[in-house]
Subunit: 336 residues, 4 copies
């Protein structure tokens, strides 16, 4: 078993999550943590047995094989480009960029660099969704005709996050676009998005929405429903259903604590997770192990910049559809 | 307890169901069964202890208080008009008509007749959906923001039924339009329908679709998703979810036999019902008891011709949306 | 369809339930209601369209084909004997007697009378348990090795019922003895019962228990667990599991309202029933239809006095075991 | 974060599981693996980046802080004693011994040694059971009156394991004895065990049983049901229910893959785990982290030799009860 020396940039919420997982994983030696906020970097480094430094120093360390990019979204692409120029493998939080054209322009350099760049779409590493995909591939329900994805957040984010989120479709629905593409292995020809601001008027004042229902049509004719909202009040509602010619497959919500309480008001199951960190804990561990496999040379990144670009183009089209209140045609070549 | 003498017209599938229920219900004396097919009428009369006759004779019997109209859809309106002209109360299978303008034109006469006309939308009498509505009214989840309705048939109908069905939206989605209106007590401002023929190409050749996903927006801004398909392969998939400001309410599929089998392939629950007759058995009984209450004079019909008209207008709009591939604006006055 | 004129004795809780069902069932004409408390008889007669009278008058009416015996348990046997002497068919609430030897002594006369006597053990008519038995008979899980029955009441009965209940085993466990015998079609060789008074000390002061766990062994070697308690606080907990050589079969609790509420405390299903009347509503209807079949001559009673006697002997043995704190050997001939 | 150098003895099934977990856990440096079978030790060492050696060498290494004892059960006590004599902390697989008196005799030396000895009862580290215990402690269901534990193995072990297993009660039920004691924090006054050989006659020929139902009574009067069997055919059936004065708490089976398949035969959930390694994977990880806490000095072993002794005494009493077919009185002092 090789131990890979790595560095991490971004000491915020996602950076802390990945740093903690890397420190607990015997396949990695997390040596460096960088952040514009040097106090945050120092704090996270102390927690994980790493050292705080700046990103340039990480990239200059010849023993560092790979970097985890978990900085703010607006700097993802720049950090990734710097890493591949330094010959490092990259684990990058989704999305790689908020601007599709900028990302499209950068793709040739990234792909020519030879450095593996892994975009961590966590759903693909969830054991339940992975099992769903295996069952689908095994033909358990014939060919898929329609798909329903429910992706509802437990609570609205801090209001100051909204302006830099990229909007609901790029920040949130982007996961569902990738999930649909991954499960169906198909491109898309049309999208219709109905958005609304039903939860918090402040979100609307900032020009964003907090609720959306989308219908996508794939090249093979599959209809996909996606439902998003920013606040359920009851946890992180994460469900996928595939309806096929011979039946249906379903991943329902996962209960982290499988305990029921029976009382005079009825049977209560423990809440399902209130955070992505809890719901996709296994996925975050599996992502890192996949990155270790990439560093071992035993695997290529299972998702890369092109997956990120496809999801981004779908998000752009969703936004156009919602604003124009009309379905938007898609170029299948660009959503393959 | 009064026993009400009634007659029934229509000895087909729905007529047989209602006749059987009426015969087993001590509040009714089912005296007469009529049908264009006199052999069918005779058969059903024999099974239920009634006598076969023609519809005119039923309407001419002064002891008959009410009639059950379960003939073919195309004759519903005509039979209902004849009944109210004869001063009979009416229990009519949905929909009252397949043509909204014709129905709108007939409404004044029906309403002026003074005869109660009950349109039997079965979902409203389902104990589970009724409990959902009570919980909603009790404020258990705050105000509703979005709704998901899944209404998937177990198997495609006989292909010769398709041309006289009125099309998927009038034959099938019509239930969901009424369910949404009933639960939300709101009118509608917009509808978008994406249809497809994914199951049986013969349905497409006849100009119909077998699969649809719809998004409706109500006057108060609620977004409703409706999913329809003509064949699941696994039973009659009937689910409703309401997402509100304080949580969600859900009616999931009902298992008529609550038996699980645990074997090496996993835990298998008995299939849920493969027919509306089984899934909504309690609703069909409750509908008839509601009609008995109407005949007793202790209740007014809880759904009437205006509900049928609203659902029909929504179905027309859905069809227009699917054909034009664009959202259709609705007149809230017409969908109230 | 024949309509059978019947009478009913016992206007208490069970009598009211059966009278209401008979009045609503078009196969019966409930003509007479009798009770020692003539006001109660009059009230129930008025509710059900019958007339109040005394039991002798019912038995003397030559048009009456059958009687429903739902009087207090201590008078069941006497009322049944009077009915069969009058040539009436009998529907009798369980148990037929609280004293096994008295019942055994009366059996020859009952059986010689030629009148069908049906003892209404409601579990046998529950659609879920009936489906379980069919699956078992179809060999879905191979041969049964062990059985678990949970039968827990929602709330303790009125304390003045305890002294005339016959004790926990005869009043309550008696259902489970019959269920086990019915499902397994086997006799019993041994029983061990551990009882306790954990819920209400007043029950203990009256010499009874409110909680019991039992282990029975059948002639073929099957081990049966039975769990009883008088108060759950969360509803009427009714479960049966069969563990076989190829898997397991399970009937879990039934939710009369299949509605879930998702809120920040978790997912809450509606309580399952708080009363036998609600949980076994379908069974009570089916029992009556079975009795109508018996009156039609198209069926023999599916349970009779010998089933009641077997359950009673098992209850006696359970009581002996609990008091002596030792397993009790059983005569398979007497528990067949 | 300290990294603790440790060694492991026993390269069989449990040893491999713990060695793999230790190697993947950044809090441990697994340096040594020992086994009587030196090829097995070498193989496991190679897989985990450790070196194969003999147990004496491990104990002689002054840098080794603790050892994992996962050798065959018959050598557990001897290996633990050697470790504490060498001043090492111990993580020992349950049970510490198969003979209660031998264990009782060794206890004073173990406890006087000052070395922490942790007996790894995996149930205590299961997140679901741990949540159950927290809810119980929080008073969610009042005071516990009865307990049901289902512990059924998916498939019989290799027949050559039976003679050295210690018998069903010491090998298998021992977990349930510990679970009951841990959850209830109570001692026991009586046990009744009904055993049978229903699955494989070869097990009976070896003098063992494969099926058991037990009833225990605690000092506070709680009644505990335990059900065991060696083969379900449908997975590793692991359930605990607590019935209290205000309701019930339940841990049901866990589905590792939360995927349902809906087909014409019904709704099938993925099987629950077929092995303890899968069902209790999180518990095995948590156990090791607890051991790291012990080595850090931040925790004392949450279970120790006295817990092992209590479970062993209960197993001896169960065996006596089953053989004598009578309840056995227990000394609460010995089952505290």
């Amino acid at each position: 078993m090789s131990v890979h020396k790595i560095g991490l940039v971004g000491a915020g919420r996602m950076g802390s999550l990945h740093a903690g997982n890397a420190a607990a994983n015997a396949r990695f030696a997390l040596a460096w943590v960088a952040d514009h906020d040097s106090a945050a970097a120092a704090r996270l480094a102390a927690e994980t047995g790493a050292e705080a430094t700046d990103y340039e120093t990480i990239l200059a360390d010849p023993e560092v094989k790979g970097v985890i990019v978990a900085s703010s979204t607006s700097s993802h692409l720049e950090n990734v480009l710097a890493a591949v120029r330094a010959g490092k493998a990259v684990f990058c939080e989704k999305p790689l960029s908020l601007d599709a054209d900028t990302l499209a322009a950068a793709l040739p350099e990234i792909e020519a660099s030879g450095s593996p760049v892994f975009i961590a779409f966590n759903r693909r590493f969830d054991p339940h969704l992975a099992a769903l995909k295996r069952k689908l591939a095994a033909g358990e329900v014939g060919s898929v005709e329609t798909v329903h994805i429910v992706n509802h957040d437990p609570a609205t984010p801090r209001i100051d996050f909204i302006p830099r989120s990229g909007g609901l479709f790029k920040d949130f629905t982007i996961h569902d676009f990738d999930t649909a593409a991954w499960l169906l292995e198909d491109s898309f020809v049309e999208i219709y998005a109905a958005g609304a601001c039903l939860i918090d008027p402040k979100i609307g004042e900032l020009g964003d929405i907090d609720t959306a229902k989308l219908i996508l049509r794939t090249s093979r004719g599959v209809l996909c429903l996606i439902s998003n909202c920013r606040r359920t009040g009851y946890g992180y509602d994460q469900r996928v259903e595939l309806f096929g010619s011979n039946g249906a497959l379903r991943v329902d919500n996962v209960h982290v604590q499988n305990v029921s309480t029976l009382a005079d008001g009825g049977t209560a199951e423990t809440p399902f997770p209130f955070s992505f960190a809890e719901r996709y804990a296994e996925a975050y561990t599996a992502e890192l192990n996949h990155f270790a496999d990439v560093l071992d040379g035993s695997a290529s990144p299972s998702t890369g910049p092109r997956d990120s670009l496809r999801a981004l183009r779908l998000a752009d089209a969703a936004e156009l559809s919602a604003r124009s209140n009309a379905p938007v045609r898609l170029n299948p070549e660009e959503t393959r």
